[in-house]
């Protein structure tokens, strides 16, 4: 146990944003961290990484692929007809209708000629940066299990989320900010709540920290007004003094010294986190690029711009949930698809494209992996006359930046967009690919829990090689 003899300086350097207690140290035996090492210290990937950070844009409720990235002319040709030849069509809420054409037109874009609908005019200009997977499949046609699967790899809530796995694998480059940040839609969070960004059975150091897009970014980041910074500094100094006297009697106890250090980090976080989300420090042109200050893009624009600022400062994983709350507030277009997707696409299109432009101009796109996904797609047949029901049998997700081969289309769905038929991909495959871009081997990134070495990808998953540049 040589680490018990670290110099104080070394110890404090290592202590960082959190340390492993003995219990955790035991779990980590044979893994990458030793007791006393910061849980969030930067750790080398398994192999050289393409990406250093991830921004996930999660369209909660389920985006319709046949209205956005997977054109199906057959739906117009056969509008109103029954969808045949597909066995029993399983819908989540009953009363399946006939085939329903998309109200939006598709056209080809970029050098790659990728088809994108008119719902995403700005993103369409970026297709040569995008690798589109049209053959995703997932297990559940129910929101919560599907969300949990997309975010944690398992349909039961309570497993560590993708962001947790990544910060566990790589640590973070800025100890003064949370390693894993989550923005919810101001109208409400996704169904299933905190387990979507939970640490599961891992230490709390790896849980996602919810950020607000207005006011103080983190709950409890700042004390109430009457507690002035001077007053706070004064008692923190007293705390440090008493704690140091206590530590002097137990000089080898790294948990005690790490806890002392955690207060200094927290104190610094108060200014650093506030600064990280201070959009006044951006130029008017940059803010305009994201659609900040105009409707309907302001809220997503702010979050996307904050995401860039966070990634720039070394944050490892940022997740933005678009859609929340109930009914049309999320992407869950059971009825009035035109209103629903019209609104959500208008809210997100410009900010997403702006984020890509901005990252690229700052040389950050290569090292930042963007994932655009939801928990499932939507049905090619109608529901409630003008909506679409949930569809986990075939849907689209895309990735960009972070060593992704732009202009790529992987797999396809059948003639209607009902089910993936060619080159089917699973959520495990998607997760394996995300980890791969970060230099992590999904089969080696494990955490022991109740007698098993658990993985983000459970017992399957293959890297989607076609999208890797």
């Amino acid at each position: 146990m040589t680490n018990r003899f670290l110099s104080r300086r070394e110890l404090l350097n290592r202590a960082g944003g959190g340390i492993a207690g003995l219990a955790f140290a035991d779990l980590m035996r044979g893994a990458t961290a030793a007791p006393g090492t910061s849980l969030l210290a930067v750790r080398a990937p398994h192999f050289p990484a393409k990406a250093k950070a991830v921004i996930s844009i999660f369209c909660y409720g389920g985006v319709s692929h046949v209205d956005t990235f997977d054109p199906k002319p057959e739906l117009l040709k056969r509008q109103g007809e029954a969808m045949t030849g597909k066995g029993d069509v399983v819908v989540s809420q009953g009363h399946p209708g006939g085939l329903m054409p998309s109200p939006w037109k598709f056209s080809k874009h970029g050098q790659s000629g990728m088809d994108v609908s008119e719902l995403f005019p700005h993103v369409a200009k970026k297709v040569d940066e995008i690798a589109l997977i049209r053959s995703m499949r997932s297990i559940s046609n129910d929101h919560a299990p599907a969300l949990f699967q997309m975010n944690t790899g398992f349909i039961q809530g309570g497993y560590p989320s993708m962001g947790s796995w990544i910060t566990y694998g790589l640590g973070t480059e800025n100890q003064n900010l949370p390693a894993f940040v989550v923005f919810s839609d101001p109208r409400g969070g996704p169904i299933g709540g905190a387990p979507n960004w939970g640490n599961g059975f891992m230490p709390a150091a790896y849980q996602g920290t919810p950020f607000r897009s207005t006011g103080d970014p983190i709950v409890d980041l700042k004390p109430p007004k009457e507690m002035t910074p001077e007053r706070q500094r004064r008692w923190l100094d007293l705390l440090a003094q008493y704690n140091q006297q206590h530590l002097a009697k137990n000089p080898h106890d790294y948990e005690l010294s790490a806890r002392i250090q955690s207060y200094e980090l927290a104190f610094q976080m108060q200014t650093e986190a506030t600064d990280a989300v201070d959009l006044k420090k951006e130029t008017a042109a940059t803010r305009a690029l994201y659609g900040v200050g105009e409707e309907p893009t302001d809220h997503v624009g702010r979050q996307a711009l904050m995401a860039r600022r966070l990634v720039e400062r070394g944050v490892r994983f940022v997740q933005i949930f678009s859609g929340g709350g109930n009914f049309t507030e999320s992407w869950d277009a059971h009825w009035d698809l035109e209103l629903n997707h019209g609104m959500h696409c208008a809210e997100t299109d410009k900010p997403i494209a702006g984020l890509m432009t901005d990252l690229k101009s700052r040389g950050l796109l290569d090292s930042t992996l963007i994932i655009w996904h939801g928990e499932f797609g939507r049905m090619p047949i109608s529901q409630k006359m003008n909506g679409r029901d949930h569809n986990p049998y075939g849907f689209s997700v895309w990735m960009a930046g972070g060593g992704i081969k732009g202009g790529t289309v992987v797999g396809s769905t059948d003639e209607y967009g009902y089910a993936a038929v060619e080159n089917k991909k699973t959520v495990n495959d998607l997760h394996a690919t995300v980890l791969h871009q970060l230099g992590l081997n999904h089969e080696k990134l494990t955490f022991p829990y109740n007698g098993r070495n658990i993985r983000l990808t459970d017992v399957s998953g293959e890297v989607i090689r076609e999208v890797v540049a």
Partner: protein
């Protein structure tokens, strides 16, 4: 049985097979491979028919085609398995209905073979013969010789000069390893340790003084007795058990429904610890309380254990299997320290636990269903049901009236909406029903079934007079609802259909679509010689008695695991680490005990002491090992820096609840009421952003109702209380044997800035002024006594004086400092 109909929530397996096009072929192939290839497969192909792949099935056999694509009624394959034509196939064994249905659908859908696979592989390569049989696993004598499967043996005590057996074993090892034990802890440390350890609350200055003043040799044993007799003992140690069984007050998944009666199980656990209920009885009640103590409400409440898992809002055969899997895994983790869950899809990779063990254990629980068991007599249930029915009846005319008021407006709204539908839908609606195409039928039906107007729209369309009428009638209905009887007190419990078990099967890869042989109940083969005899249920039994069979094996004195696993848990909660450091896994991938003889000695002692948990506490706490200082011994650091051999008492950070509880105890506002329904402290809405089905109605910090111990805080899976969550309160997805103990900046942020903590600092300051008067030195002195169980040193006191006098808010800030100290949050 009481008339339970209104309460029974049936969770019986529903045979809803999810089918979709691209998987139909795969499913059909699996049905054939699992059921037919014994006679029509690699070894033999009776009738020259090969059913290893869909292609070969389509080729038929010596009697011609077995499959007529598109026509199941003409397909011999279907007619034979469906029993329409003889012989029934497979011979003597009718396939499950959903398997037959898969084949019918596959044939009627054109008997398509997955095109991609067809082009890629020849039939022989494509269709590996899947063995529907369980993987064989013979238990060898060597398997049974693995330490954890051998009954604990009580070794003679090592010859060291000590009376306490714990010390004898510990000291013998320390000597052998050339480790020097730390000196005894001072008395203030000792009493603070004992209080925090047993009750999770710091001692009061009076408690400390009484102990210091007691010069008798049994002063400490007396403290231990007092604490074991305290109702707050069960609150801390019951919480440890609640972690082990993944207790939560909500069901998780989409709705994360509140379990408003779960707290009765929580209180049962706390009471069991307080009463020192024999552990073997505690085990049996949780698994089979309804069978062994049918008349006792407590027995029923105890079976809440079987209901603690996640609740999927989708109920089908697959989700039912997942629920059972969770139960098998948790039961084996919690009671046996085994990872039986690993054997769902294959034999355990490291331990001698076969798939057979898994499915035998699953068979034990297979017949269970959820029930809300009324905790009142039959008469009261009848009265309740009658009152409910009466009010429902009184509401009928009012509801009819409401419908009548709404009717014209609703119809008009619907008509308006209809007129705006797309042309092709309008055409469908205009087409006479018998002339509609398939698509038109679907669309017309969809309009009829789903086109509606909601009440908001209807009210908006009404003139004021009708809105008023509508209001009046709605009020009548609401008033009647008010008169409904209060819900009966119920327990979240378990029932079964009857004494006959619901048949359960081996499932290939855990999938309900691939059934193998019928399973009988059983126990872990490697941990027993011969077969365990499950009892025959009594003639009037309402359950299969399989659970009591399993429970009596687990709780039997001969079980090699149960006592070891529990004494190890007790040891671990005292010392931070177990003798086996993987408390939920005594298998080969777990750790070996650091002190095997001590573990066995404690296990045998536990059984001899009638499974008394408190007896083990006494034994441990009255040892020198427990009473040592937590200071380092420099000479030991090189040999055992990790303190695996317990040469000193490890310092342990209080768990999440302990930190919050201690703050309130010190500030003087902790409500020490024991038990009852859970409380909802304030959570910033930005952290949960509720939806209609999932919300948190938090009370303000200042509401004394929330000043209860952490174990009474409503534990909602999707909305964790940040202060507990950030300090590693476990997610309750699976059994948590040992909490993580991380140290991170967000913990500091909460203790620095959270409004509750600031309120506690103010209350603490008020208490100091109240009890110590205006003298600053006296205030600081009392603060140290309350928060740290000791007076301040001279220099600490001087520092405190200067600090408090140096600012108008000096005392409050000083109090917040105290609540943030390392010394405050660590058990010394």
């Amino acid at each position: 049985m009481l008339p339970l109909r209104t309460f029974t929530l049936l969770v019986a397996p529903l045979f809803a097979v999810q089918l979709f096009a691209s998987d139909l072929a795969d499913d059909a192939a699996l049905v054939l491979q699992h059921n037919c290839t014994g006679c029509h497969g690699a070894d033999k192909q009776m009738g020259n028919l090969d059913l290893r792949s869909l292609e070969s099935a389509l080729e038929g056999g010596e009697r011609g085609l077995a499959v007529e694509p598109g026509k199941s009624a003409d397909s011999r394959l279907y007619k034979f398995i469906a029993g329409i034509e003889k012989p029934l196939m497979p011979p003597g064994k009718r396939l499950p209905a959903e398997d037959i249905e898969i084949i019918r659908k596959w044939i009627d859908d054109g008997a398509k073979v997955n095109s991609k696979e067809k082009s890629e592989a020849k039939p022989q390569e494509k269709a590996p013969v899947i063995n529907t049989k369980m993987e064989e696993r013979t238990i060898t004598p060597e398997d049974r010789r693995y330490w954890a499967f051998v009954a604990p043996v009580r070794a003679p005590l090592p010859q060291v000069s000590t009376a306490n057996p714990v010390d004898a074993f510990i000291l013998a090892t320390l000597r052998a390893k050339k480790l020097k034990p730390a000196g005894p802890a001072d008395r203030r440390t000792l009493i603070r340790r004992a209080y925090l350890d047993l009750t999770g609350l710091p001692p009061t200055p009076a408690n400390v003084q009484a102990f210091l003043d007691d010069g008798s040799p049994n002063a400490f044993p007396k403290v231990v007795e007092q604490l074991l007799a305290s109702p707050h003992y069960g609150e801390r140690w019951g919480r440890h058990w609640l972690d082990t069984v993944r207790y939560s007050d909500s069901g998780g998944f989409e709705y994360d429904r509140d379990r408003d009666t779960a707290w009765r199980y929580r209180d049962y656990v706390i009471k069991a610890f307080n009463d020192d209920k024999p552990y073997n009885q505690f085990v049996q009640e949780q698994i089979a309380g309804d069978e062994i103590a049918p008349k006792s409400y407590e027995g029923r409440i105890a079976t809440g254990y079987l209901r603690l898992g996640l609740e999927n809002n989708l109920k089908n055969e697959q989700t039912r299997m997942d629920d059972l899997d969770d139960l098998v895994a948790t039961t084996s983790n919690a009671f046996l320290g085994l990872t039986v869950g690993c054997a769902r899809c294959h034999n355990h990779k490291f331990d001698p636990i076969a798939q057979k063990d898994y499915y035998r254990m699953q068979a034990v629980f297979f017949s269970t269903k959820a029930t809300e068991y009324p905790l009142v007599n039959e008469e009261e249930v009848k009265r309740f049901n009658a009152e409910q029915a009466h009010i429902t009846e009184l509401q009928v005319p009012w509801k009819a009236k409401l419908t009548e008021i709404e009717k014209p407006y609703k119809e008009k709204l619907i008509a308006d909406k209809k007129s705006k539908l797309p042309e092709y839908v309008l055409v469908a609606l205009k087409t006479p029903a018998d002339k509609r195409t398939e698509g038109q039928k679907l669309n017309a039906e969809q309009v009829e079934k789903t086109l509606t107007a909601d009440q908001k729209e209807i009210l908006a369309a009404m003139p004021e007079a009708d809105v008023q009428r509508h209001k009046q009638v709605s009020k009548e209905i609401a008033d009647l609802d008010e008169q409904r009887p209060k819900p009966l007190p119920t327990a979240m419990a378990i029932a079964e259909k009857g004494r006959e078990a619901v048949p359960s099967y081996f499932l290939y890869r855990g999938s309900p679509g691939s059934k193998g042989s019928l399973m009988k109940p059983g126990v872990i083969a490697a941990a027993i010689q011969g077969e365990w005899q499950f009892p025959e249920p009594p003639a009037d039994a309402t359950t299969t008695w399989r659970r009591s069979g399993l429970a009596s094996w687990i709780a039997g004195a001969e079980n090699p695991l149960t006592a070891r696993v529990m004494v190890n848990r007790i040891w671990q909660h005292h010392f931070g680490e177990g003798i086996v450091r993987t408390p939920n896994n005594f298998g080969k991938m777990g750790e070996r005990p650091t002190h095997p003889e001590l573990l066995d000695w404690l296990a045998t002692e536990f059984v001899q002491q009638h499974w008394s948990i408190k007896a083990i506490h006494r034994l441990i706490m009255n040892s020198e090992t427990y009473q040592r200082a937590s200071d380092d011994v420099a000479a030991n650091l090189e040999i055992d820096g990790e303190n695996r051999y317990f040469w000193r008492m490890p310092r342990q950070r209080l768990e999440a609840e302990g930190i919050r509880d201690s703050m309130m105890a010190v500030a003087g506002n902790l409500d020490l009421k024991v038990g009852g329904s859970a409380v909802h402290p304030y959570i910033d809405p930005a952290l949960f952003q509720s939806s209609s089905k999932r919300t948190w109605v938090g009370k303000p910090d200042t509401d004394p109702e929330t000043w209860r111990r952490g174990v009474y805080i409503f534990s909602k899976r999707s909305i964790p209380l940040p202060m507990l969550d950030v300090f590693d309160k476990p997610d309750s997805v699976g059994s948590c044997a040992r909490r993580n103990r991380s140290t991170i900046a967000p913990q500091a942020l909460i203790l620095m800035n959270n409004s509750f903590v600031l309120m506690e600092a103010k209350m603490f300051a008020d208490r100091l002024r109240r009890e110590a008067g205006d003298d600053v030195t006296a205030q600081a002195n009392l603060a140290f006594q309350l928060a740290l169980s000791r007076p301040p040193s001279h220099s600490e006191s001087e520092t405190a004086f200067k600090f408090i006098r140096g600012d108008a808010q000096g005392l409050v800030d000083f109090c917040q400092t105290m609540l943030n100290l390392n010394e405050f949050v660590y058990i010394p």
